[in-house]
């Protein structure tokens, strides 16, 4: 501990022996670390937005279907007794809300036009606790209780169909037997989510009406779950999967199966891997930028340390003559490098963290790119988020980089022969 204190003291004082050089190197480091911190916080903010928007706009955190439905989207693959499935999974910890849906692709027609549509039959009140669909309604109202013929649709789709509040809307879709069935609804509300896929395509109708119209009886296509947090999604999905498989294996069929089919339990990122792939891509991109910045900055650190080492050759020789071990000289130079990186790194964290917190509150308005962002479930206003993992990653990379940058001068200093070093001018 006493040796460490002399390393730190010597390191600190040697750095400030040339204050301008230290300030310039630290400033370069600070700018690099600040940029990384801010970039990382923006990336984390983005990712949180994408995940949250993707999961809560429509999808929910977890969906249970009859096996194969997510790929086929055929009504023949449906959950016959959803209530029993819900009863058996409702004891799983961390479930905030559960709702049933019927989901089918079809055709929406108005008096003047028609368009392809994603038709969702939902339980209006329960749906409010699962997705943000109800909150996106900006004209008219969400599906009122008891209104069996009400429909809410995306505002872009409404424009294409030229329908307004109260207008008639005919929906057509294939029923399980293959026939086409149609049903008449009245437009009660229009929604705008900012997500193109939703605003262009979605039509939401009451679940019971959809079940009746499509000949499903009490069956549904989706049981949708909202978890308390993202962290709970994977363990919860695993728990539900094993619970449902055990029931099948034990022969205590919960009658949620249709014709011997088993159920599939999918997380939000299984349903559409795009969001996760985008997150992975952004993560990889951040790593590459991190690597580049760290390399550039550490070349600067290496340069500073080599200069410092060369002007102190006699001092290292003197230390060696006095009895300082080569390993101690090595450690001393490494500590000096770490101190230099910590000065710049901490300043960078303060600047980058401060900017991230401030913009986290204020948001960064990128609405001029809103259309492009809507594909990615991104809001036009980004709120950077400081995450501990990311901060530790940057700090770790900086310190490891400092060690690497310090290795060459430390090795050179430790290998100096005192008798030769003392002759240096």
């Amino acid at each position: 501990m006493d040796n460490l204190s002399i390393y730190l003291k010597l390191g600190w004082r040697n750095l400030w022996f040339h204050p301008l050089r230290t300030v310039l190197t630290s400033a370069a480091l600070a700018v690099g670390i600040a940029a990384l911190t801010f970039l990382s916080a923006m990336d984390d903010g983005w990712m949180q937005q994408i995940k949250t928007n993707f999961a809560l706009t429509v999808t929910g955190h977890i969906q249970i279907h009859a096996a194969g439905f997510e790929d086929s989207r055929k009504l023949s693959q449906r959950i016959e007794s959803p209530e029993q499935v819900i009863t058996s999974i409702s004891s799983e910890a961390g479930i905030q809300a559960i709702a049933q849906r019927v989901r089918v692709s079809g055709l929406a027609s108005s008096a003047g036009s028609n368009a392809g549509a994603f038709i969702y039959g939902v339980e209006p009140e329960k749906e409010k606790a699962i997705s943000r669909l109800a909150s996106f309604v900006n004209k008219g109202s969400w599906l009122p209780d008891g209104d069996e013929r009400g429909a809410v649709l995306g505002d872009v789709l409404a424009d294409r169909l030229s329908v307004a509040m109260g207008d008639k809307l005919v929906l057509m879709a294939a029923v399980p037997g293959g026939d086409i069935a149609s049903e008449v609804f009245r437009v009660r509300g229009l929604l705008h989510s900012g997500v193109m896929e939703v605003d262009d395509m979605i039509v939401i109708v009451p679940l019971k009406t959809a079940q009746h119209w499509l000949g499903l009886g009490g069956a549904v296509t989706d049981i949708v779950i909202r978890a308390d947090s993202f962290e709970q999604v994977t363990p919860m999905a695993d728990g539900i999967k094993s619970m449902l498989s055990a029931q099948v294996l034990n022969g205590t069929d919960h009658k949620g199966l249709s014709s011997g089919q088993i159920l599939e339990t999918l997380r939000w990122n299984d349903i559409d891997p795009m969001a996760e792939q985008w997150a992975d891509f952004a993560d990889a991109y951040t790593w590459i930028v991190l690597l580049i910045v760290i390399v550039v900055v550490l070349v600067e650190v290496l340069n500073t340390m080599l200069m410092s080492m060369h002007e102190r050759v006699r001092e290292f020789g003197l230390m060696g003559a006095l009895g300082v071990m080569p390993a101690q000289v090595f450690a001393m130079v490494i500590w000096e490098t770490v101190i230099l990186v910590l000065i710049g790194g901490l300043a960078g964290f303060v600047i980058g963290g401060g900017l991230s917190l401030w913009y986290g509150q204020q948001g960064i308005d990128l609405s001029q790119f809103a259309v492009a962002f809507s594909f990615m479930y991104m809001d036009p206003v980004i709120h950077p988020v400081l995450e501990l993992d990311s901060m530790l990653r940057i700090l770790g990379a900086a310190i490891i980089g400092a060690m690497i940058a310090g290795l060459i001068p430390a090795w050179k200093a430790s290998k100096l022969e005192p008798v030769h070093a003392l002759r240096e001018l």
Partner: protein, 240 residues
């Protein structure tokens, strides 16, 4: 009964200069007893600094043997020689003797810290030695805030603070004016007499030579004469 501190036998050291081999030391036998105050004198290139570096474990001879304080120095590894220097030797060099970023007190205490002495104890000892070399009140000054003579006095304080068996000084007055040089020599001589610490000093400065209790004259890598007492060297010159 003699108390031998240094026993060197047949020390040779060659340097290559182009295709020539130059003998910096050409078979030196030397015995020095504890408490001696020896000056190695000779012109530039006579081999006195090379011999001093050998005695300090800073350089290795090509042939020969060297035992200091009962330890065979030449069989030790680099780290073992560093540890040996830390615990047995003190150094005073010609210039750039101090660590630039440490105060005078910290410079003196540095070796003590490496030896594992507690802070309070080492600072008290450092202050004692600062007073011994006449630098009381200079404890917190950095090297660049002191004169060359004061810096050399701090180096002497550092060399003696760890209570070494042997203090080696290489041209300690070379960068000092004559008055300061004489004052430094008087200090080292006084400390030798009071503390009984063995000093071996390499110099061609007349003031240093004049301060010697034993003078070893070197020429072309060999000892050519020994004057005074305390030393027993080759060629039958014996000093007791």
């Amino acid at each position: 009964m003699s108390d031998t501190l240094i026993s060197a036998s047949g020390l040779t050291r060659y340097y290559e200069s182009g295709e020539m081999k130059v003998a910096a030391l050409a078979g030196v036998d030397l015995t020095i007893e504890r408490g001696a105050y020896v000056v190695l004198a000779g012109r530039s290139g006579s081999g006195k600094t090379t011999l001093l570096n050998m005695l300090g474990g800073l350089d290795r001879p090509d042939t020969g043997s060297l035992v200091i304080a009962g330890d065979d120095v030449l069989v030790k590894s680099t780290s073992e020689r560093a540890a040996f220097r830390l615990h047995h030797l003190g150094f005073v060099f010609q210039s750039y003797n101090l660590i630039r970023v440490l105060s005078a007190r910290e410079n003196v205490a540095y070796v003590l810290q490496l030896q594992g002495m507690e802070k309070k104890e080492r600072f008290a000892l450092a202050d004692h030695w600062m007073a011994e070399v006449g630098l009381q009140g200079f404890e917190n000054r950095r090297p660049d805030q002191m004169s060359g003579g004061q810096q050399q006095r701090v180096a002497v304080a550092r060399a003696l603070a760890s209570n070494p068996d042997l203090v080696l000084a290489d041209e300690p007055t070379a960068n000092l004016d004559s008055h300061t040089g004489e004052s430094l020599m008087a200090l080292m001589r006084r400390l030798n007499e009071q503390q009984g610490t063995t000093f071996v000093i390499a110099s061609h400065d007349p003031a240093v030579i004049a301060s010697a209790r034993t003078l070893v004259n070197m020429q072309d890598g060999q000892i050519v004469s020994v004057e005074g007492k305390d030393i027993e060297a080759v060629k039958g010159d014996t000093v007791s």
